[in-house]
Amino acid sequence: MTTRSSDPAFAKPLPLATQTSAPFWEGLRRGEVCLQRCEACEAWVFHPRSNCPRCLSTKLAWRKVAGTGRLHTFTITRVPTAPFFADEVPQMLAVVELDEGVRIPSTLVGVAEDEIVIGMRVAPVFEPTVGGESVLLRFTKAWAPGPR
């Protein structure tokens, strides 16, 4: 009988790249944020797709971007969103709007609770998962002035 600690179904979930999204995850391993841009309608696209969500074109090209943006919203959890995240409470869950206009669900790191303000500038943090399976894109408060 499997116990909870040995059952992989109860391990912290990891991202599993697909053929479509692989360049995004490969970019993070190099310390780069890469987004798709539609060559037909010039839309920036996130999450990665096979077809542009604005015009359905398949002409999506990968571009390296700065990865900077603004905090769109956040919450600090007092109860884990699932048992797998008990070790991360309080979770600083965030949605970041990159300067290209796309939004990314992520977390804030290296920020005190009382420093978090919606609209603040944020910068990417490339954080390998504990087992080194992947690199996650987290964000922290950016000190450099950015576009307003």
């Binding site: 909870r4 059952d7 179904a9 109860f10 912290k12 979930p13 990891l14 991202p15 599993l16 790249a17 697909t18 999204s21 999450h47 769109h72 919203t73 956040f74 919450t75 600090i76 959890t77 007092r78 109860v79 884990p80 969103t81 699932a82 048992p83 797998f84 995240f85 991360e88 979770q91 869950l93 965030a94 949605v95 939004r103 990314i104 669900p105 992520s106 977390t107 919606i118 609209g119 998962t129 992947s134 996650l136 987290r138």
Partner: protein, 401 residues
Amino acid sequence: MGLAGDAAIVGLADWKPARKYAGAPRFTIEQFAELARLALEDAGLEAAEVDGLVTARIGESSNFVPATVAEYCGFAVNFAELVDLGGANSVGMVWRAAAAIELGLANVVVCAIPGRPTPIRPGSERVLDPRWFYGASSPEYGSPQAEFEIPYGHLAQNAGYAMIANRYAAVHGYDPRAMAKIAVDQRTNACANPDAVFHGQPITVDDVLASKLIADPLHLLEIVMPVHGGHAVVVARRDRKPRWPHRPARVVGCGEHLAIKSPAYAKDLLSTPVGPASELAFRMAGVRRDEIDLACVYDCYTITVLLTLEDAGFCKKGEGLAFVRDHDLTFRGDFPLNTHGGQLSYGQAGGGGGMSQVTEAVRQLRHDAGVRQLRRCDTVYVSGTGGVMSEQSALILRGEA
């Protein structure tokens, strides 16, 4: 264009919500059959008259769901639908049934969502299934949520709604006491409803704000109460009988809208799908907002109610907190809302919780709501919300003249 109002809710069944159901577990199809029997009995209709059904997902089959339900209940139908809109299922079921009736496809349509415990396979034990933690989020391979949200801890519902509330606070300001008042007024309603799970347990604004913080800024008492229960309605051609046992609730307007699964990608996090859904419903019904006698607003969280009041047009964007402060939302008040107690205080029987908003609307239209009965109730607004404000639906119901 739109519904003519020829279909009406003529029967209903509510299983009293329970924190823990004391009876024997039954399969979803068994519960569906029993809820159908009760709702048909309430409508004064025979089982043989059923020629349409709408179901949500069931535990006993992952596909061919409508046929599985039809066979089990003994229904031969011309209209069968599986609705997959989460908490918007209830409203989505009712308008689909009404539309099928107006198209001439069916005359008597059963819509049921059971929510009592189901049996487990003999020899196995009830084990904690990690899939339960994901709620509205999909952990399947290839799901954008599995890849880009879940690994960061973005999953289930609490955090998503909390992030919407925080965005609201940053853009329009926030008043935790007004948010708490939404829960308090509904609890007052629940205390006038002997079926509500929190009947006899009044709360204050301070109680809500003193309850455990789950995800800033949402407290425990601002979050829906899961219960065991179940609900069903029968939608029929209103002229099928010259006289019905109860006043029929005509379905005169409906709307539905969805564009995203995850709120992170919403074009505007504070402009929710219930806006366009409600606009369609009001326009179709030819009803003004000030003609609504009762609002049955899907209330998985206080923030859902706040945004629905704004987006459905009961007040302007950004003025919801003032609206809540200025109005008494109880059954005695000037803007009665969720007079049964809402899912916050009546209880949410799984995916069927939203059907309690429909059945309360019908009870009030029938003038059969006991001590919480509104003096005047002819026109009701009902909303449904699935996921994290992803799919939303709206209904306008009108009591038969």
